[in-house]
Symmetry: C2
């Protein structure tokens, strides 16, 4: 990694003590400072198949002399520009995500449709070898893709855990880079079209976030696409807002569910939320809905090849009015309980499989390719092999005109069957995932699928979904879970059909809801997404019931699937609540040391030395005599700001206040945060030996209003403040007078359970 | 007010300085402490027609020796009890609110239906005098009610602003009291049934919140309904959660919109939000939906009198599939713009009318009654007078079986017309509000209502809605706004019908959306509520568009109607963002003084004296020599905790640490917060003269982890911390060593613009 200077690892590496600040006697008098604890929490995370360094994001508003002269507090025209640009950006994000979502859909439907049509034709001519080649050709394409992906590991998997971590304040290398975006879009199209049991929803969320990041940071410098006028958004706060909008737009585009997208971003993705953000997210998803609606309108009458099925509502089951009795209600409660159990087992298995795969992936590219090939063969065998062993079903009399299916879509595939018969398993397996879901939700023909067929399909989807998520193609979890859940629900409906009132298509919907609740553990957003997918408002009370039951049951066993993956990847996610054991500790108990501080007017050599020897991201600045009567905490200075200041070389020969001059030479925008990995680096500086002996006044760039806690503050309350205020650094100040004015800095890693329980292994983690 | 001890007014009244803490020399050395600024922000608010004192709520987790031994950190059984009880309570809230909501509906439909049927019969017999009596009788009943309400002013108005303020941390006297609940329920029923242009939604939200409060604080001590086992919820945090659930349940019950209820609570009502709360709110509204669904099922076949119209979806327009062209889109954009302007004018007029009415109301009960009588006469004249001047319309040929209306409901009222004719204005005015909305949304007959009729109805609803909100019956704003908006939209649809593609019923829906967006300024929740009301998912993109446009336009002119009312009532609402001018001030600039502090082991007499002389809610506790080397801030002690401690009389003769003994005698529950106005009062204490000279150790009840900011902290950042952490007190500590360890305490009132701009009138409020 070339840019490891950018990594935050306060206390993570070997450190030197800046002896000019504290006297030795202080150290001896202060037992707290004697502990030279080091934060051993890992500063790297698994992203895709590789590990890469992570950086915390900084949402704190910097208050210093320079930024007080910022445009925000001065210029009305600039404030108007900012607001206008933000709306324009959000509009662009909506437009782009809508277009990409539509393109994704179009490509998948056309590729998969063409493949399926070809298969059907070749079946008639009994050219099985050619079918086999076509089926595997696409899989090999995906494998090729995967090989390229070795170079771009961040595009693997669902992407939702990474986006969730980003919105919690953790940035892993290249997680939202333009190259990731590119690989994600095409990887997802080929993965889905090839017939892997993967969805396009997770990748769409990641795609939306990437688009938002690309637009928000003013294009990509690497690819020579830069917009200078987007300088207002060069900070982590605005980027977070835009990426939240992008994630919502992704869900909206994937499910054609604008309100569901907003709620998904709110419930699952975002860690901080504001009223203004709700409005902006809503606007983005409205734009996505309008774009999709217009393009779908345009594509009517087969203008877009094989695309054209389904309007804005993907799985319309509006025509079936639910009516249910007590037996139905009891059956639904049982459905929810079992769905919750299956969901938590799903999460457990996904976690285990991911851990196994990450060991395999580490062994080298050959093993990774082998893994994809094996999964590809298993998937093809299931889809194309098993239906051969299934008995043909004669078409029911009243459906003579749709059975067997002519053309691509329809749920009565003939496969190897004679005329007037259909193969029910082939109808589910040899079709796109969307069509399979549509067939399962269909209320028309209760006996369309046999019980054995549903059982096999359920187990195939359940386990294929689990083992496919681990291989590193872009893969969403929603569709596999809906497929498994819908077949489970329809199976239950079939079994209960003698006594139940409810249609088995509605049972399939409730089964899907119970599986989604059991794995994802969302409530309102899933409810609204399912409502927008199916347009059956009258099912709402039942859907809420099933979701609540399955979530409650599953929560008893383990965490939601995205939370599990975040933990597995080693991303330092900050929970909204403090852990119970933190109540028994105080802030001073966990703060890492020793601490490097700067004097308010510091020797250039000292700064350069400290920057080189540590990878800290912020340094406390101390006002010392003669500037003040006694040492006082002036504030915090950021590494990136120090580098910009040093680059400007506004040095003085003697130790004197020169802040006023600095203010004239710099502009607040000079200190704006660059995109991930693009900031100024220490190696870019060229400082002469004589300049090393000169002084620089840090006052203008020091954040004079850092949030502080007293060292005796309960760690639980410090954690709440850290999380609620979205901090990257929290200063710990001494309680008793007469000591150095700062004890240490708490960062995200200091609140991680691994760190705290590593320091105090005797503490009961659950108490 | 008898319990004004409970009021928070740090710095609000005449104060005494506790001279035993600081030496006089300190005061002279410290310029900050010399400013004896006093916070002059009003500590009272208008609630209903009266003014009453307000109290801030305290969401901070107290960390002291006593609470560290709390059940939360010890007993697994108790934690289970807590979780179980919380779910049980939420279930109860859902059940109760669902029942009340249904009862409300039932009563309104029956009373109004009976009245309308009687009117119809008397019309046939031409007994106009009797009609007049019946119409006014109900109004007089409401006036009688209003007279009783003089005793219960908090039940007036919508209630949403009060609930919103409560969830922001402001408790006004008896705003959620059981008596308010009672008056609200019946006041709302009679108000709506009498034919006033008021809705039941706002009152239902308030009702839900009252139910939640009643259940959450363990019943009502005044009415001898108490449940001792609810002691776990005797704190402001848990109460806030429950009341959020109650507010959501209210919306869900009023609109039969469970998801809309959750989103309303999230977007409009709540100021703080957690993931767990989302889930719990969702559960509550699911229960409401199930209760309503069951009761509606039960009421089919006219088992419940005149109730029975409408299923779970109140205004079903699902059967009309929207198809629109470019002209429609342009028309809709214009509709949104004009709707936004009308909405902001509505808000402006409501504000002006409310201010005028509050002057009238202050003049005495006679004036208040007069006001209600005038509004009542105007409303009756509109409803029963104007239709006489309208020309009868012959029934269209294809609607012979429904026109003219037989029975109660239907949109072809004959009124004074001969057979085979109907009176369109009477069809809208002489019916319940719900039926009028249903008629306006109806897509069946474009020319059902004449343009003049729609114009008159629009203006009548618009202005009657405004002038009725001010009189002090429980009155929601949703229904009047929907009525005005729907007639405006239908009017636009009628005018555009030659060129537009869209049905005029759908135009009415979009018109209602534009008015709601223009007055309430919500986005997602309104969208979902309208979706759940009408079950037309395909209208979603258009509805989002209209809402966004009208909100944007209206936001240019003024604030949302609830925000305006909160300001008008003088409730100190904390905004989520800090005002721009706060960036130019520091925390030390606004802190009020002088400060009263206690020594960690303090003389009883001093405490009693300070409690008597001030109405502060919290006092800093200072550890002084010989306990420590130098004075240190030990923490904060709350007035209510001091009163409990004094009542226990664990005093010592000499100044010594006796905390250990105290811990044995008290239990954390002894310090639990009582319901509003029910806590221990200073007058309840009986302390002998000799006990006044004894000492008490405050350590066990001192919150040793208060949040602090340094006096040089930017006021904007202090405000953000105060709001995000949900604080009631924020300690300001000195920056320079050698000073007393605390400068002052910031409270909610210190962040109010009135206070800050009062101290620094030269600051530009917009910069």
């Amino acid at each position: 990694m070339e840019n490891n200077v950018d990594i935050e690892s306060e206390g993570g590496e070997k450190m030197e003590r800046n002896a000019s600040i504290f006297e030795e006697s202080d150290m001896i008098r202060e037992p707290l400072l004697l502990k030279s604890r080091i934060n051993t929490t890992s500063q790297i995370a698994i992203v895709g198949a590789n590990v890469c360094p992570i950086e915390s994001l900084d949402y704190e508003i910097v208050e210093n002399d320079l930024f007080k002269q910022d445009w925000r507090s001065r210029n009305k025209v600039q404030i108007f520009q900012y607001v206008f640009l933000k709306w324009a950006l959000v509009l662009l994000i909506g437009l782009a995500t809508g277009l990409v979502g539509f393109f994704n859909n179009l490509a998948v439907e056309n590729i998969a449709g063409f493949k399926l049509l070809l298969t059907g034709n070749l079946m008639l001519k009994e050219r099985y070898a050619q079918i086999c080649i076509i089926w595997h050709l696409l899989h090999w394409l995906v494998v090729m893709w995967f090989l390229q992906r070795v170079l771009q590991p961040s595009a693997a998997g669902s992407g939702i855990p990474e986006v969730k971590a980003y919105l919690n304040g953790v940035d892993a290398h290249s997680i939202l880079a333009p190259s990731t975006l590119f690989v994600k879009i095409f990887g997802s199209i080929f993965g889905v079209a090839a017939g892997f049991v993967v969805g396009k929803e997770g990748p769409m969320v990641h795609t939306g976030a990437c688009i938002a990041n690309l637009l928000g940071q003013g294009g990509s410098r690497k690819y020579h696409l830069t917009w200078k006028w987007l300088r207002y958004f060069k900070n982590d706060r605005d980027r977070r807002d835009l990426i939240t909008c992008g994630a919502a737009a992704g869900v909206a585009a994937a499910f054609r569910a604008p309100v569901g997208g907003v709620l998904f971003a709110l419930e699952e993705a975002a860690s901080w939320w504001r009223s203004a953000l709700l409005w902006r997210t809503f606007f983005t998803t409205a734009v996505v809905a309008v774009v999709l609606k217009s393009l779908i309108e345009y594509c009517k009458n087969e203008k877009c090849g094989l695309f054209g099925e389904g309007g804005l509502i993907m799985f319309d089951i509006n025509n079936s009015v639910p009516s249910y009795n007590t037996i139905d209600l009891l059956a639904i409660i049982l459905l929810g309980v079992i769905g919750g159990i299956f969901g938590s087992i799903y999460n457990y298995l996904v976690d285990k499989v991911l851990r196994t795969y990450s060991i395999i992936n580490e062994k080298g590219p050959a093993f990774r390719v082998l893994l994809v090939i094996i999964i590809s063969i298993i998937t093809s065998c299931c889809a194309f092999g098993v239906p051969w062993f299934v008995k043909c079903i004669p078409c029911p009399d009243h459906l003579k005109d749709v059975c067997p299916t002519k053309g691509r879509s329809g749920s009565y595939k003939s496969f190897q069957c004679p005329d007037g018969h259909y193969n029910d398993l082939a109808s589910l397996l040899l079709t796109t995932n969307d069509d399979a879901i549509r067939s399962l939700f269909s209320p028309l023909n209760t006996n369309e699928f046999r019980i054995t067929c549903l059982v096999f399909f359920f187990f195939a989807m359940y386990f294929l979904g689990i083992i496919t998520y681990g291989i590193a193609i872009p893969s969403g979890l929603f569709i596999p879970v809906i497929l498994a859940g819908a077949s489970y629900g329809r199976l239950a409906g079939r079994l209960l059909s003698p006594i139940a009132n409810l249609d088995c298509g509605l049972f399939a919907l409730l089964g899907a809801a119970s599986f989604l609740g059991g794995t994802m553990r969302m409530t309102v957003s899933l409810c609204v997404i399912l409502l927008e997918l199916t347009d059956n408002l009258l099912m709402l009370p039942l859907m809420m019931l099933v979701l609540l039951i399955s979530k409650t049951v599953a929560d008893y066993f383990n965490k939601g699937v995205y939370d599990q993956i975040v933990i597995m990847k080693g991303l330092p996610f900050l929970e909204a609540h403090a852990e119970p054991y933190m109540r028994h500790l105080v802030a001073g108990d966990v703060v890492s040391g020793p601490l490097i501080t700067f004097s308010a007017v510091e020797k250039v050599g000292n700064i350069v030395h400290s920057l080189r020897m540590t990878s800290h991201n912020a340094f406390p600045v101390i006002d010392e005599p003669p500037i003040t009567d006694a040492p006082e905490l002036c504030g915090l200075v950021l590494r990136s700001h120090l580098l910009v200041l040093l680059k400007g070389k506004m040095f003085t020969k003697h130790r004197r206040l020169s802040g006023g001059e600095t203010l004239k030479w710099y502009h607040a925008f000079d200190f704006a945060k660059a995109g991930s990995g693009k900031g100024l680096k220490l190696e870019d500086l060229e400082i002469e030996m004589e300049e090393m002996e000169m002084f620089v006044d840090l006052h203008p760039i020091t954040n004079t209003s850092p949030y502080t806690v007293v060292e005796t503050m309960s760690l639980a309350k410090a954690a709440v403040a850290f999380r609620e205020l979205g901090l990257r650094h929290l200063c710990v100040v001494p309680k008793t007078p007469g000591r150095p004015p700062i004890v240490g800095i708490l960062t995200r890693h200091d609140f991680m359970p691994e760190h705290v329980l590593g320091l105090y292994p005797h503490i009961d983690a659950h108490k």
